[in-house]
Symmetry: C2
Amino acid sequence: MTEVDFDTHPKRYRHWRLDVDGEVATVSLAVDEHGGLVPGYDLKMNSYDLGVDIELYDAVQRLRFQHPEVKAVVMTGGLDRMFCAGANIRMLAQSSHAWKVNFCKFTNETRNGIEDATDHSGQTWLAAVNGTAAGGGYELALACEEIVLVDDGSSTVSLPEVPLLGVLPGTGGLTRVVDKRHVRKDRADLFATKAEGYRGDTAVQWGLVDATVPKRDWDEEIGRRAHQAAARSTRSGSRGVELTPLGRTVDGDTLRYPFVTATLDRDARRVDVTVEGPTDAPPADAAGVLAQGVDYWPFAVTRALDDLVLRLRTNEPLLGTWVVRTHGDTDLVLAYDAQLADLAGDWFVNEVHHYYKRTVKRLDVTSRSLIAVIEPGSCFTGLLLELALACDRQYMLEGVYEDVDPAADPATITLTASNDGAFPMGNGLSRLASRFWGHDDDLEGARKLLGERLDAHAAEEAGLVTMALDDIDFEDEIRIVLEERASLSPDALTGMEANHRFVGPETVETKIFGRLTAWQNWIFVRPNASGPDGALRRYGSGQRGDYDYKRV
Amino acid sequence: MTEVDFDTHPKRYRHWRLDVDGEVATVSLAVDEHGGLVPGYDLKMNSYDLGVDIELYDAVQRLRFQHPEVKAVVMTGGLDRMFCAGANIRMLAQSSHAWKVNFCKFTNETRNGIEDATDHSGQTWLAAVNGTAAGGGYELALACEEIVLVDDGSSTVSLPEVPLLGVLPGTGGLTRVVDKRHVRKDRADLFATKAEGYRGDTAVQWGLVDATVPKRDWDEEIGRRAHQAAARSTRSGSRGVELTPLGRTVDGDTLRYPFVTATLDRDARRVDVTVEGPTDAPPADAAGVLAQGVDYWPFAVTRALDDLVLRLRTNEPLLGTWVVRTHGDTDLVLAYDAQLADLAGDWFVNEVHHYYKRTVKRLDVTSRSLIAVIEPGSCFTGLLLELALACDRQYMLEGVYEDVDPAADPATITLTASNDGAFPMGNGLSRLASRFWGHDDDLEGARKLLGERLDAHAAEEAGLVTMALDDIDFEDEIRIVLEERASLSPDALTGMEANHRFVGPETVETKIFGRLTAWQNWIFVRPNASGPDGALRRYGSGQRGDYDYKRV
């Protein structure tokens, strides 16, 4: 399998163009047909593969961090009459199931990131659909706050996956149509079964788009709407933070970033991740934070974790268990944790905050077993404790490793306001509320412990760790747990973890990852889609899928 | 494929025993090993197949209708040391994917029916787990309001599907553990990966069971709890209604019941269902209703629809589209509709009401395309209009069929309180609120029309039908719609419909059908479970599954 790299830069984009004009930016899609990430397909008609979406993700991030002045973003097509044809079908047809699923996950996260920019950055995205938006192309538009469709007599929006490919839209289409845009279910049914889609009054009346605009008024109307959105923004800040290349080094099976190290154990099918706490006290004020830029500890940690999660998910599917540790000074972590809250009104700190939120949310939907190990020297505090709470289990050493460092301080964990709603999961719950779902007393009890250093006994009492063991049992237990985990069916674990991690309410986001994705997974592997005569494999051959019509 | 029959009677049960002792009934599971529904497996250790669950469903229904005096139901095991081992693994291993999924759907509905009896009939179910409850066995217990586990030093509760079979619990286990019983997610993770399960203090402390009781106190404690639950009940009524055999006749491809007819068109892969309205005015009072018993029109219609839905789902997987029509006198339907509301306090009317609710909910989770056709002579009114609103689309003729009966009255539909919350979907929404999700004005507008006869134009204006067409276009349109529908991928349609039908909030019930089932579907078809070396196929051979460890 090709090793995928998520680093890029606007100067290296092959598919998108990023133009900034004062408070309005424009991202234009003009896919290089010959720029596919792997060989075997041409990216015709502005269709995309993972490489195209990696550039879009980079653009979304740069707009947030490098461009505090940008308050509205127009997404548009750079080809004639074709906004975007969605995911490339030949790419899908030749890809493994794991690749397809991981690709959909990343594109979903990028779409959610666009909505997050609109909701939390005062950067409103507007889809200027200046040609046909089909399938994933329309799903791109659905992630934007407004959708304007050109009225040229031919351009439509459509979700042709069901009628043409025998699969579901892979990036939230069905859910966003009914749950975000509130299209009536019978109309959604008509829409999702009509390959050619809709345009004009019907598209507006049903809520598929917000407006249609003739070509002659196009530029003026899009500009008017973009500036209107910008006028509503409270985004502030004048100087951005340049996203310089990550300081990532690879040394055999060890990946090193500033503050994050990952060691890959291929025999055990495991990754050991260690996050380092800060080495210095935080800067005195927002100006100092901005001056540090990419070196600001919470930002550096987030960038490293984000890249690591994406690389491991895409490139290392066999490493099914991630063990998460931290190492550092609890006081310093607490100081940064408090600063993120204190300076929440600052644009850059706000961006760091939401970026960390999005990054931990990636863990929630990662199809790997996540185990937190809490030992002496660790600093699972506030925002870093969120990493442990995102894990499926938390193991904490009671006391110290007598044969390693008997004089060490035993591990503690510390809850802060960061654990009580600052970094919500996709379902809107804090990880603490999710943990104590249905046990309000336990949640209230935990809230009373904010700021206290909890040793293993206290942490176990408060329900914050799965198990606290002394060093006689600890190492054996961890070894057995990891061996057992590695022996189980990876599919069953993925399904089980997805169900346990999202208790309680559901949102558009969790429905997309939890319900829609699971249906899509199933449909993707069925012979009606992916078999030799399935619709996905036959697409473009002039033959329709040859279906077994049995309903399941 | 074997044609499955859902008719049974306690005298014919091979697997369950139903004993009624005053206000407490006991249902005991002692599976006849040699009583499998199809050949090829022995139902050892109180494991079950569809036939076992058909008997349980019959018992649940009889307790509600025949036994108004029963206020608590004890579910227990009739074998030594084994409450229930769950679904039979050899049965699963030899079954087609469609069979497994439909089997899980029916068992889920029966479990939900047990919860419905507890919530809406004052008939509280109590699981007296007098031996090991594994997998589906524990899921049976999870459907009960209380779970008491015998403390005999060996009996446990467990969900061994992930570690032993490489699949997920198929009947809501994961969801009920975290969302209903509020087991902390890391403990749920430990539980669902530990094949042997838990017992004793751990099981109680984690919330897996409510209590453990030693053998010597068993009968007394179970009796005490059952009578305590009964004492809380407000259930009334002294004489039950005997569930006599359904008057179903089969005439070639036509199934006839009192008030319901279904015509199977195998070439078109379609079923045409017609529900007849009542022929007489409703009885004067609750005593009159009870005297009619199974002949009471709403009850007769419900029993017929329930049986029809179950038979078609199980026996006719190739008939992918169901077209729903009604025929009858709107005034009479309105009179019955009003009576169900007026006599809501009567135990029998309450039972009929909730049975109809459960039956329409079966439609919501039926993996068939549902199309309502509204023509002159129809009576889509109140409770019958729910059938149309459950459909994916509603087509209404404007005017009359000029060449058939030019003098006919054009069709109308009528909203009543029945459409505004009396028959909620599994997500708690009325079908009307679901239809207008995100459009509160339209919902309020529809509410203003309660009781009015809406012709095609008015119905379309109010957003209650997908399309209103005159007879020049109507027949052509319906023909094209049905032909197109029949040509699409059945898997994609199933996933699409499941997503469109459940907009807005989620509950334990919708999570089980929508999210958990979809994951299970996918995992069931993966080689790691169902391939020649998969865990499900190898179970019992002494060999574990041979897994491809790639995470997806």
